[in-house]
Symmetry: D2
Subunit: 403 residues, 4 copies
Amino acid sequence: MSDTKKVVLAYSGGLDTSVILKWLQDEYACEVVTFTADLGQGEEVEPAREKAKSLGIKEIYIDDLREEFVRDYVFPMFRANAIYEGEYLLGTSIARPLIAKRLIQIANETGADAVSHGATGKGNDQVRFELGAYALRPDIKIIAPWREWDLNSRQKLLAYAEKHGIPVEMKKGKASPYSMDANLLHISYEGGILEDPWSEPEDDMWRWSVSPEAAPDQATYIELTYVKGDIVAIDGVPRSPAEVLTQLNKVGGDNGIGRLDIVENRYVGMKSRGCYETPGGTIMLRAHRAIESLTLDREVAHLKDELMPRYATLIYNGYWWSPERELLQTMIDQSQLSVNGKVKLKLYKGNVDVVGRMSDTDSLFDEAIATFEDDEGAYNQKDAEGFIKLNALRMRIAAKRLK
Amino acid sequence: MSDTKKVVLAYSGGLDTSVILKWLQDEYACEVVTFTADLGQGEEVEPAREKAKSLGIKEIYIDDLREEFVRDYVFPMFRANAIYEGEYLLGTSIARPLIAKRLIQIANETGADAVSHGATGKGNDQVRFELGAYALRPDIKIIAPWREWDLNSRQKLLAYAEKHGIPVEMKKGKASPYSMDANLLHISYEGGILEDPWSEPEDDMWRWSVSPEAAPDQATYIELTYVKGDIVAIDGVPRSPAEVLTQLNKVGGDNGIGRLDIVENRYVGMKSRGCYETPGGTIMLRAHRAIESLTLDREVAHLKDELMPRYATLIYNGYWWSPERELLQTMIDQSQLSVNGKVKLKLYKGNVDVVGRMSDTDSLFDEAIATFEDDEGAYNQKDAEGFIKLNALRMRIAAKRLK
Amino acid sequence: MSDTKKVVLAYSGGLDTSVILKWLQDEYACEVVTFTADLGQGEEVEPAREKAKSLGIKEIYIDDLREEFVRDYVFPMFRANAIYEGEYLLGTSIARPLIAKRLIQIANETGADAVSHGATGKGNDQVRFELGAYALRPDIKIIAPWREWDLNSRQKLLAYAEKHGIPVEMKKGKASPYSMDANLLHISYEGGILEDPWSEPEDDMWRWSVSPEAAPDQATYIELTYVKGDIVAIDGVPRSPAEVLTQLNKVGGDNGIGRLDIVENRYVGMKSRGCYETPGGTIMLRAHRAIESLTLDREVAHLKDELMPRYATLIYNGYWWSPERELLQTMIDQSQLSVNGKVKLKLYKGNVDVVGRMSDTDSLFDEAIATFEDDEGAYNQKDAEGFIKLNALRMRIAAKRLK
Amino acid sequence: MSDTKKVVLAYSGGLDTSVILKWLQDEYACEVVTFTADLGQGEEVEPAREKAKSLGIKEIYIDDLREEFVRDYVFPMFRANAIYEGEYLLGTSIARPLIAKRLIQIANETGADAVSHGATGKGNDQVRFELGAYALRPDIKIIAPWREWDLNSRQKLLAYAEKHGIPVEMKKGKASPYSMDANLLHISYEGGILEDPWSEPEDDMWRWSVSPEAAPDQATYIELTYVKGDIVAIDGVPRSPAEVLTQLNKVGGDNGIGRLDIVENRYVGMKSRGCYETPGGTIMLRAHRAIESLTLDREVAHLKDELMPRYATLIYNGYWWSPERELLQTMIDQSQLSVNGKVKLKLYKGNVDVVGRMSDTDSLFDEAIATFEDDEGAYNQKDAEGFIKLNALRMRIAAKRLK
């Protein structure tokens, strides 16, 4: 095991990855480079620097990746209206490929021959990190301590930390009984009482949104401007990608929007229960479908809908960096050239209602033809007869055979 | 045109189909049989009998089809989690095949050689009626007056009615500016100010649900019992299919659930704006996905998700009676054999939240494996390494080539 | 009907379109522009000029479109490995969009307000011409004489020709009992005894290929060079697209390759029997799959395979100029960037056998890993255990439940 | 490793599995049950009995599974027109699930707690055996010696055999340089010079078919009778499933039919080169498509075509016993109820040509409508205009927008 010389660790600064850091130094006798990313998880990343230094780390990377995350990962995914298993907005899944990419970039810059992460051997995240890493650098060595060591309980971790002088800064207040993950797109909860799918989570589990009950009694209206399928302005004010998502999280969370409680199928083969808060993403999905409803051709929209589950599954399973995801993205992005215009939304106590959509340049809604009033010949109703007759022909021939 | 001897008319008793009735008698000089169905649209059907009699009709069919409608059309469709274009629950679409079937049955019983309906030449309903009719009786003659006559405005219809002594009973109160259709699954609104997709409908348009704002401040909890993918009991009380939908419409509508405002793509080629209220259906979709999340195999669920848009489009386009819809149904129904159990829901001001799901007999949720705690060897985390490595192999080979 | 001023006619110079020409002049009292294309059908196009002149036409377009046809239509289609209903190489279908495009271009150049063609109301070609024309110029008027007139037999056509002084140059020899269509990709036969699907066509029906029985007793080997999915050289000699197809037709036809006899489903709703000779195309399909087998990622190849039937159906049904075909093409073309290399083929009495494929730059075939010999650690066989175990996990959990 | 008490071994009687047998006895100190199946591989299975006895085996299973193999595995697969990656008829893949099933049945009968096979850790077969075994008995222990031991060359195997007194009966003649697998559906070749995809195999590699060059100069005609998608008679003579395939292999092989040389994508991630002889299967695929072309509805056929690649991939990857394969099979089998009739084929030097197809009961070919002659009103050509206009509408609206 000692042929590993330098390893880049995805380092949060928390207990688990601090123990991993120390364990890598001891077990692999190798140099460790730490990488800590601000993906909008809502916690300071700078403290990780001091912590890493105190553990003897010399090469410390701390990156603010929020704009890149939303611009190059979240937005492209929302162009596809991606939902996994009819419900899940892929909040955790979409952050992993960016982390994998930075791990490899840093490994290349620092001459490291390995990368390491704190994901367990039961979940999807290990797959997402590692498929990305292998795709971007096929000879990389990957160290997944949770699959190797025997520190498989919190007690053992704490004991290890104490023995090796790792500072254990307890968070204020009661420790959460849930396993959580957060980034600008969402925060997730697993474990604890959620392991019984019949149990409703307590209301104090949720952190990013108020409950619909606690949300304001007045609705909030917002207007989103789309260019090529992406939001570029809110209420007429231009916003960068990360600003868009930050602001939508705020207004969504304030209005009790975006809570989800599901049982999902993991790529590694078991079902698991997860709860998610995705305030901004919930708004974005609804609004994007609305602007597409006006500006996308019917068959293009249907083709996208039929391929969406596959695209979502690729992201869920960790195949962001695969050629098949890239190919689908090429097609999805091409479809968005005409997705320009505005959507008006009403937000109220957990509801996101589309109340208007328009596009000066790309609307395919033809009022002259659609009208219930006299259309002055724009549409010839008699055409429908032939349309129906030929569409029915094969069924008529079949029915005649049966007589 | 005079070789038509007897025609079965889908007759609501309202102005439009009364004019059609008279027009058929005059233009085609043929006998007319009327068929009026109670599909749960919420209006009395018996008055149609007197009206038909007064217009000289001798063969009058008035059927209560509510149980058949929900059991054989709505429930099978919900087994598929069918949604058209990501939003629409197909409330109008799913009633048409049943009407088409009854029209043909009655034509066969009464020796009629033609059927007729009141759908216009611009919409989807003409297609749904006629594809069904042709599939079930290939030699049937179909008369679609809206595609033939020149009574293309309300004024002309009223003039025709007056001239021919057709009683025009004005409904109480202001006439609705919208074109509406209703059955047990939903009520729809089109036309009027909805023809501008940027206009928000006034709140008094909606008829089946209170607004979320007006809904109770206390949540309502319900528990649905599933057998083979269908709801058979609410809060432990056995219910017939039509009872299920009636009760869910009530509780859903009371809690402000099920309003939808979309732009959709019609089969005949144009986009149109529609608003829908589907209180019970909105609850059913959410709950069905929840019970499936526990009891369906992952790949079966994904296969269903990938085929769903196509299945939904078949129903939207009027292909219920096609062999391809029947084939997909065979597969969908087969998948539901294990979809047994209970779902607990919280209904609150427009929100439908799943808060629990369980299945004594068919749960595939294995707590022993899924747990974040020590699983005592139920799952070997080391297996994940090989799983990831072989899934990554093709990408690693490709990446090596590029070096 | 008299508001048409000028019409562009797709004119072959044969009897049918000459009658149409005259009929348009008489019935529509409009000016006629003729358009005759050399698509490699194997007949001279220049005689159409004199014929048109003799009928009083002033604007006569005669275009050699062979290179454009193969480069912009045939080659892109073969990048998708398109086959309709498992058998048909779409030879007729792929020529129609180019003709539609030229009809509209010429209409725009000559100020015409209508186009006309000689396809009947029963076939697919009318759809292909007209969907293309409408997509490229939405206000175009289309005149399809076969759907309008009553000259629905050869006798009536001849009588009309005689009456109006249209020269009827009988072809030498016996008239073919078949309806035929030809271009560089194929020649097709319909009608006559083929209308009985149990009848084998006589051997003298076929025109482009010798029978396998009559082909040489020695095999012919050829080597095709691919760049981005297209053939750019044969046996090392650079060739233009039309040269490629011309040469492959020659060598294929000489070796008895490319005959096909099928029953197909037309877009207008009936089944029809067709025979096709596609010598070059048959070789191209086989060879393209071979070069892809070496250079395409597995999942990309599978995605292409799953979408192919839909892509082929779009072309068959006449949707070349639709946004959904263009979207799929974007993805297909993107996939071909790595499809570079060579394929070696053996042609013998109707058989096309791939006997070698290579790619210096883009092969994903890794001999070090694939070998049955000792691979010196390139692949760790133990990884397979975890791969299988996690892929089996969901089935094991399900099976345990049943115990 | 010593907690395994009894293991059922898939035993061919050859060197490899004899070494495995002995190795299991030694390494696992467990009792071994042998299972040898006649799947039509063309070698005697009885000699395996003596060999097993001589190695001390007490429980010996030798089964003739040919009828079951063709009836329950090959035929259902051909109902789907399954081809992997456009070329491969899945000959090896389809035999594995039956072997897996019998291994588990025998384990259950004999009280064994493990099964073992001779597939390597690089190929697809290990996956197919093991996924099947796990799906049918989730707690089974699987021993895959090639993934465990270090006997990774022929020399080491022979040394082991000699050391342990395992009789090595050399086959007569030169040993094949290829790795081969055979059953009633096909024989496969891998390894040796095939590891270079540019090398053409020598003609003496092929064992089941003559070369097209050596095949008779006279064509052979055969007629196949289908009931519900399966062949039940050849030239009017009723045949059992295994008889059908045996006879088609004979006539196909005699006429040089069914050779294939491809590069394929293995499930475990690498590309490999394989050559296959599938004489009967090649005929069956062609003939099945022909009878379907007459008796299947267009949209049903297209749905089957779109799902086929996924179905074929499931079989290739070893998911025969998965719920998703079973679900697809339900649908495929349902589609075959109307696939009844006869197909006439011409076999000549490698070519399989369909020259006729008929169905007294289920033909959807309507000559009255399809005819090029006067159809006497069976089809109204004017219907096509409305059909085209409404199909074009969305494209016309889009094109108008661009003006």
